[in-house]
């Protein structure tokens, strides 16, 4: 559900983006990219607005929005962890790092924690293979990320802002069945 304020922001952003890029079918992807850049994700409302402006059915906007990997349909967390799953990182512990994030944050790649503090994603090679396994935190690249480092990273970003409540989710993160299931999919 969107709050009243959010609705306004979305509508304003979308019409500004449409005005800047022009409402042409060919501009669909740049339009979606611009909306995402400003809002952090693609709200359904924005996609419907774009569809109306381009005079195409909404599914023709939802299609590309779900087809391409770079679009997110949910608001991102305050901090984003992107775990590199490129070849070099994968072979040297990328999966272990990803598992650790999933275990600690209790979310899967593509998701955001309920408090919207963190989101988790996978990326392909970010070009720093010599530092594998690599995690991109917001826009910083962290190299040689072990499970201990994963804990450290989460902790450092938690303590950066307000102190997070030690809710049950966090402490029960040792559910082994969950954690062992490999890609969890």
């Amino acid at each position: 559900m969107l709050l009243e304020g959010e609705r306004d922001t979305i509508l304003k952003t979308t019409s500004a983006v449409l005005a800047e890029h022009g409402a042409r079918r060919e501009k669909l992807i740049p339009l979606l990219q611009a909306v995402q850049e400003q809002l952090g994700y693609l709200p359904k409302l924005a996609m419907e607005e774009i569809a109306a402006a381009l005079d195409i059915p909404a599914v023709e906007v939802f299609g590309p929005a779900t087809f391409y990997n770079s679009f997110r349909l949910h608001p991102p967390g305050e901090h984003q962890f992107k775990v590199c799953m490129g070849t070099a990182c994968y072979m040297i512990g990328g999966q272990i790092a990803l598992d650790s994030f999933e275990r600690r944050l209790q979310i899967k790649p593509g998701e955001t924690t309920a408090d919207r503090r963190f989101s988790l994603d996978q990326v392909a090679c970010v070009g720093c293979c010599s530092l594998a396994p690599v995690v991109v935190v917001d826009n910083f690249v962290e190299g040689k990320v072990t499970p201990t480092r994963v804990d450290g990273l989460i902790l450092s970003y938690e303590s950066n802002g307000q102190k997070v409540e030690q809710d049950s989710q966090q402490t029960e993160a040792t559910n082994t069945d969950e954690a062992k299931g490999e890609e969890g999919s």
Binding site: T87, G143, T174
Partner: protein, 637 residues
Amino acid sequence: MSILSATETKYQALREKAEAKLAPLAAETIIWIGTATCGKAAGAVEVREAFKAELKNKGIDAEVREVGCMGHCYAEPLAVIAKPGFPAICYGKVDEGLVTRLVDDFLINDDPCYEFALVALEPNDVFPTFSDFPRGVYENKMILEQCGFIDPEDIDHYIAKDGYSALAKALNTEPQQVLAEINGANLRGRGGAGFPAGVKWEAVVKQVEKTRYVICNADEGDPGAFMDRSILESNPHLVVEGMIICAYAVGAGHGYLYIRSEYPQAIRRVQTALEQARERGLLGKSIMDNGFAFDLEVFTGAGAFVCGEGTALINSMEGKLGMPEHRPPRLSTAGLRGKPTVLNNVKTFAYVPLIMKKGADWFKNTGTAESPGTAVFALAGKVENPGLVEVPMGTTLRQLIYDVGQGIPGEKEFKAVQIGGPSGGCLPEASLDIPIDFDSLKEGGAIMGSGGIVVLDEDDCMVRIARYFLKFTQQESCGKCTFCRLGTKHMLDILTAITKGEGKLSDLETLRELAEDVQVGSLCNLGRTAPNPILTTLQYFYDEYKAHIEEKRCPSLMCPDLIAYFIAPEQCSKLCNACVGSCPVEAVYTRDDGLKAIDQEKCVKCDNCLKACPIEYNAVIKLSPPALLAEKEGSTK
């Protein structure tokens, strides 16, 4: 005596202006920091700031500037100090301590701290240069030559180093002559397939339709490759110049660089490059006053591997789903907006200015008869010196791995080299003497591909790597054709079962049959090449598959379902607690007798305790199959 043409006059003016602007730099002390993505990841920004702060604190007159990637990623962050009176010297693994040292000892006191130097960039009597190292002997930098040595955000650096002179030369001849030069050089496309660029361009020239496009494919989807990104971040004008020359040859009025969204810094640097080129009349209505009009813009990809495929790329540029189409028609007849279109890879365009400047024969002097020129690789995995390398075509894999990459780190044994990414294959030791060129690699079952090379050692499981690539292609399969959509899924399921110890020997036959069906039945090369990682690993590493199936054993101790961690009591020290603290899930505990043990129910196989255990004890070991555990535990209770 010929009089200078308008183009030549214009170019000379640009060149003189650039040189005049840069001349005073020779008398200044300049610190260059490599801030491509790889450098930044290693801490280049902190190093840059540390230099700036030190210089300011100590009141030293020197400039800090940024360059791209030199290709020596293993030694990042890199800094080059050019001080008048000394050869320019490159320092590797620079940290804040070294920054202080360099400023105090070198900048203030003239001691270049050779003990920390990696290499000198100019021949001199005191310190070795790149060509004195084994890597330098094998490397032959054509398109990477200036990467890391010029400021990618200042067009004058490129112009002062002869940049855009090839364009001036091209504009002074007829388009057919440009075409003849590229054809004469037998420049083959570097995006993977090795199709001759000249033939492609000629097909566009032959079209009646006069609205034509030039597109640079910078989608670089191979999950282990970053050459194209590095080139765009380190020397964007080389690619831009190549594209303008191509546009002139084929008569295109507009072009695009299709860059994947995961490369924000490359996008930014290319945009800056385009603006600066436009300001100087190198793009726009009348390029270098020659009357030829052409402009370029960036299209940011939206993230789909299949969009690297030409027809899918066009669809995505038109705002549609990035799905491939049946060919023909080829892009050269009906590409973007149905118009004749040239699509080439970043590297392909990067060779164009060099060939124009130095001639087809110069280009053909390097490499092999059928694959002239050089090959650029992102060398990664288990090699001592990973990074971006450029070697002549025909160099063997062995030379690339052992001489350029300096071999396998530790005492580990080489197992395989994965070349060509998700469409490529894994080659064993016995294939290491295959020369690297488009045709030889294909015979070995791999492909040249986009240039990702990952070296694997004894700790890497071949079933797992096959599964890794298949999972990638399965996820990226656009779903349009059945063979690719269902075939990759089915093969992935089989491989997953095998890595869990749930496979049957008959599965291997099914895998092979499926692989062959998907190879012939798929619509585009994503599907047609997806089975390569499976087929090559089945061919060369059949025993590993068998071990997974028959013994439930992962010979490389990598598949989590087939290994168990165990602390050998005879090696464990009661005094040490390193493993207990390292465990993220509290699976490691202290037994009543003070020794440590692992609760297998809780263990998530993260490898932390093994890494944490001090080398003098080496008490944590991995066992495969996990059934060995009962035996071990029984014997020690």
